[in-house]
Amino acid sequence: MIKQELPELEEKSIYVIREAKLKFKKIAALWSMGKDSTTMLALTRKAFLGKVPFPVIHIDNSIDFPETYQFRQELADKWNLDLIVAKSEIKPDMVGSACCGKNKPEALKKVMAEYGFDALIVSIRRDEHGVRAKERYMSPRDKNWKWDYKNQVAELWDDYTSKLDTKGHVRVHPLLDWNEIDIWRYVRQERVPVNPLYFSRNGYRYRSLGCTHCTVPLKSNAKSVDDIIKELEVTKDEERGGRSMDKEREYAMLRLRALGYM
């Protein structure tokens, strides 16, 4: 996995996060308590002198891991986050796109409408999935939340100011250029707090975190951030290998994203 220059990645992300905050009237960020969105918050604190100047939304289907809830509380207190919990309803047997493609977007839609958010920071990365690699830094969703990926707006140079459809909302992707290993190197460098589920227990760890229904741990002995970085230096497995919804059928991710999944 390619390691990039962290100072450059940091500058780029800070620029995009500031641009988003200053461009849109009412912006929020999605926070799943995972490594990526927590890193995004750490970058936001750098951009805004120690503050996170917008609300963070957790889409909560009540079946996240106990560790995740605890981590949410601890960091929300420590970083003084304006946390919005968007409750999504879930039935016991619901898995995969029935939940992530429908339930979670529904809950998010409700919260977005209630607060009138016109932009949403989402911490996806290009290297996660081929479809995510097609995203732009700022990517409009129409009023039905559709992503018109065949007719994306021109995004030239680092001017993320192309005309956007105002009826829907805009997804902002400040971490698009980061690779998984860069996130972990940044976590190490900046001592970004992370969910303990990422570290190996009894020979298994979570490499990508979703909720309890759809995420399975992978075989790993990585017990520290250093171990994780070493593991990623040599792995040829995919990061989202433990996420069942990605495997359901071909193009699952494309369909999920078209439906509004993040």
Partner: protein, 406 residues
Amino acid sequence: MEVKNISLLGHKDHGKSTLIGSLLMQTGAATKVRIKEAEEYSTKLGKPFEPAFILDSFTEEREQEMTYDTTRAEIKYKDIALSLIDVPGHEELIKNMISGASYGEVALLLVSANKDEGIRDQTKRHLFISRMLGIDKLVVAVNKMDTVSYDEKRFDEIRDGLSGFIEKIGFRRSDVRYVPISAYNGENLVERSRFMKWYRAKPLIDEVYDFASRNEKQMESALRMIVQGVIPSESGELVVGRIISGRLHVSEAVKALPAGFSSKISEITVKGKRVRSAKMGENVAVKLAKSIKIEMRGSIISSAADAPKLTDSVKSKIFVTGRIGGRMSIKFNGSDIPCRAVKVLYGINPATGEEKSAKEVKPLDAVEAELLLSRKLPVERYKDTKELGRFVLYSGKEFVGIGTVV
């Protein structure tokens, strides 16, 4: 590791996605899952293995065998990473191509050697746009050499057919390389091909590497900072933005244009730390000595002694993607300013070289025109300060052109 952006250009079906797929496999960068997925999909369509499927991820892309939007793939090579930006080659997708190519530093152009393909209008148009966007290093990969029995004469024919055009649009001869390859068979990509012993230079990836790893020395230049806006802080309002050239120092006398607001820098913060000075590429938060009375977003901060000139008349080169004329607006550093074209000096079809009058200009042509802006802006020539010399033109919500200031 430093990442260098490589824009992949070329007519549709000349093999861009196949090339990336093959390079990902030959350099060991493709994950097992991606290769397996591509294998399964090739089998499903009843075809031999298609390396392009490693890359094209949209359903439609695989079914119609075309790339819809820009995508990236990263390849580690020696001490750097090459980030290959795959842009669509189809005419109707040219604005996506422009978005992708605008991130490039080196361009890699594919031209098919196949007798029925060869140099096409789109080949030349892509070259023209990339040069206009400031790309100055070019590797031309003459692809599908397997379909012409790896014939040296066909390679020479394509090289000679293109070199005149390439130099005419402003590439220096020493900044251009020609490499014969077969992306599908993986010939001459990472290892030298045994079918093309007549070719004596390096395989493709080394030629790209040589350009990409070359570090051009940055010239010491005047301070320019693009202002994104103002944020509150405990010590008062801070101006935030990015330094695009030069250096910024505490206690320096500065000016914000176009408003013409002058003040002194009293504090500079970079990534949360207080510093005495900041350099090009850094995002800063700056406290000014005077309280801010103007709209800061979209302003340019420079040193008071060396400020850019304000102008409302912009002579520019424009690549046309829609209808130029009537009431338009110019997107320039976050500002959105109404403008109109007062004079189209000449129009040209960059693919054929055919000259046109203002009336005959169509999308995919290029023009040189004078724009009149509804207010004065700090505009500079593209060759002096890239960020202050390039813009996007809109007519309503429609993207109608990209331009550079001459």
